[in-house]
């Protein structure tokens, strides 16, 4: 069985926009979503800027019941529930009735760590011999699968409801795994995506590794510089992205709007061998992942016309471009258009892949390629491989046909998904 899979719904909770309309408008104009956080400065962080979705209490009340809101202290969960619920509604789907779940719909929603603020709150109570005061909600807000569990209950999904985790590849991996389940006929619809908490307890470890930029605290809008010669590290972000994947038959049967087709994808690891390590990718594995994704999708490398890269704004960006160029055997003006929205939202970690997939798919709907912010000074190593015209600085009209989106994560893990225009 090899059923065709399409995307019928999108939802987003990103540092540069909560909800599809805000997110789209911000991307269209390259509006910055990264700001200075006094809290990080007070805590003595080197990098005092970050990307964080702004959510009012009032907005939360439209997604959570008063009971769910009591003691809710898990930012990733909030972002994920909002993006996931929005994607479901965007697809024109309803919550299952009270009595019976929707057996054909499942959830595969990833995260890095969930509810770290709730965990901190709980640890303080436990350490003061007060574990009895934890109440009933500390477990569900801090278990990794809390996000899929909340969404599963809100929507009433009766198929597989689970959570994946593969560091910064999580979101893209979720799309591939969810599509696989529909392809093989095990589900008709899968809500896929990922979320990431915000705040110092998530970002601190990266600051300690000195891989975040510390020279842009007064100019947050210039800090995240994918593909730039002056890139000096990734800006930490957070949020959630969500996609409704659906079998083509199901989507056509109910007259759903189709954003694009998911042709296929691949997931692999460099095994932390060769040049690969816990934190650095094995280029051979990256190239294999890209080629396996194309093969899975039945697409020739010459057909890819748009790439949404991982491109985090570190010294590794040139290496990523080299990997794309070598895998696709394309360079100069023949290289596909490539972009990274991290210049606007920062690196949303486990949420990055899904947030960026949502952005990539909006490009189909709108017939354009979002511009790359902060890479007026393209890295010379990249210009050796790719003509500057392939790296649009401003949003450019263009109807994408075959799009490749890749994400890479700590642990030397890779994920690459291939989308196709649906006409």
């Amino acid at each position: 069985m090899n059923r065709r899979v399409v995307v019928t719904g999108l939802g987003i909770c990103a540092p540069n926009g909560v909800g599809l309309t805000n997110f789209y408008n911000s991307l269209l104009h390259g509006a910055n979503g990264i700001i200075y956080h006094q809290e990080l400065a007070d805590l003595g962080f080197g990098c005092q800027i970050a990307g964080k979705p702004e959510i009012s209490e009032r907005l939360k009340e439209t997604y959570f019941t008063p009971l769910q809101l009591r003691g809710l202290n898990s930012s990733g969960l909030v972002y994920g529930v909002m993006a996931g619920t929005d994607a479901w509604m965007d697809a024109g789907l309803c919550k299952a009735n009270k009595e019976e779940p929707d057996w054909d719909s499942g959830i595969l929603f990833g995260t890095g760590i969930l509810g770290i603020d709730k965990l901190r709150e709980s640890i303080y109570l436990i350490d003061s011999n007060n574990s009895r005061r934890l109440g009933s909600n500390s477990v569900m807000q801090t278990m990794a699968s809390g996000i899929s569990a909340y969404l599963g209950g809100i929507l009433g999904c009766g198929n597989q409801v689970t959570t994946n985790s593969s560091a910064c590849a999580t979101g893209t991996e979720a799309v591939i795994m969810g599509a696989e389940r529909i392809r093989t006929g095990k589900a008709k619809r899968m809500l896929v995506g990922s979320c990431n908490d915000s705040g110092p307890y998530v970002w601190g470890g990266f600051d300690a590794m000195r891989i975040l930029p510390s020279a842009y605290n007064l100019e947050p809008g210039k800090a995240s510089r994918p593909m730039s010669a002056s890139a000096s590290g990734f800006v930490p972000g957070s949020g959630a992205g969500a996609l409704v994947l659906e079998s083509m038959d199901s989507a056509l049967g109910r007259g759903a709007t189709i954003y694009a087709e998911v042709l296929g994808g691949a997931i692999n690891s460099g095994g932390q061998r060769g040049v690969g390590s816990m934190t650095a990718p094995n280029s051979e594995a990256v190239q294999r992942c890209i080629l396996e994704a194309l093969s899975d999708a039945g697409v020739h490398r010459s057909e890819v016309d748009v790439i949404n890269g991982h491109l985090t704004a570190t010294s590794k960006d040139s290496e990523e471009i080299r990997n794309w160029s070598e895998a696709l055997k394309r360079s100069g003006k023949d290289f596909p258009y490539i972009n990274s929205i991290k210049g606007i939202v920062g690196h949303c970690l486990a949420a990055a892949g899904s947030i960026e997939c949502v952005a990539a798919l909006l490009q189909y709907r709108e017939g354009l390629i979002f511009g790359n912010r902060n890479c007026e000074d393209i890295h010379p190593g990249i210009l050796e491989l790719v003509n500057a015209s392939r790296i649009p600085l401003k949003t450019t009209p263009y109807q994408p046909k075959i799009m490749a989106k890749a994400s890479f994560g700590f642990g030397d893990v890779n994920a690459c998904v291939i989308f196709k225009e649906y006409k």
């Binding site: 019941t65 009971l67 005061r133 009933s136 909600n137």
Partner: protein, 86 residues
């Protein structure tokens, strides 16, 4: 309002948050069983206990919670705790 009525009113206020959407606050009576009649999720009984502790300044032990099946049970346990306290 006498002390008992006042306590019942406060307890109802606490319980209201935990009621399923299809159970109204009017359904809460002295003899209502929290789980079998008001359909409160058993996991939330611990939250109700914590809320009662905060509201009445008492401490409820596991045994108290085991005995707390109905609204009346809850009120009598609180009553007893308050008396012991004074």
């Amino acid at each position: 309002m006498d002390a008992n009525d006042e306590r019942l009113a406060r307890l109802k206020e606490i319980v209201e948050t935990y009621l399923p959407e299809d159970v109204s606050i009017e359904a809460v009576e002295a003899d209502s069983n929290f789980i079998t009649e008001l359909n409160i999720n058993s996991a939330h009984l611990v939250d109700i206990v914590l809320d009662l502790e905060d509201a009445f300044g008492v401490r409820l032990e596991n045994e108290d919670m085991d005995k707390m099946l109905t609204v009346r049970d809850a009120l009598s346990i609180i009553d007893q705790k308050l008396q012991n306290k004074n």
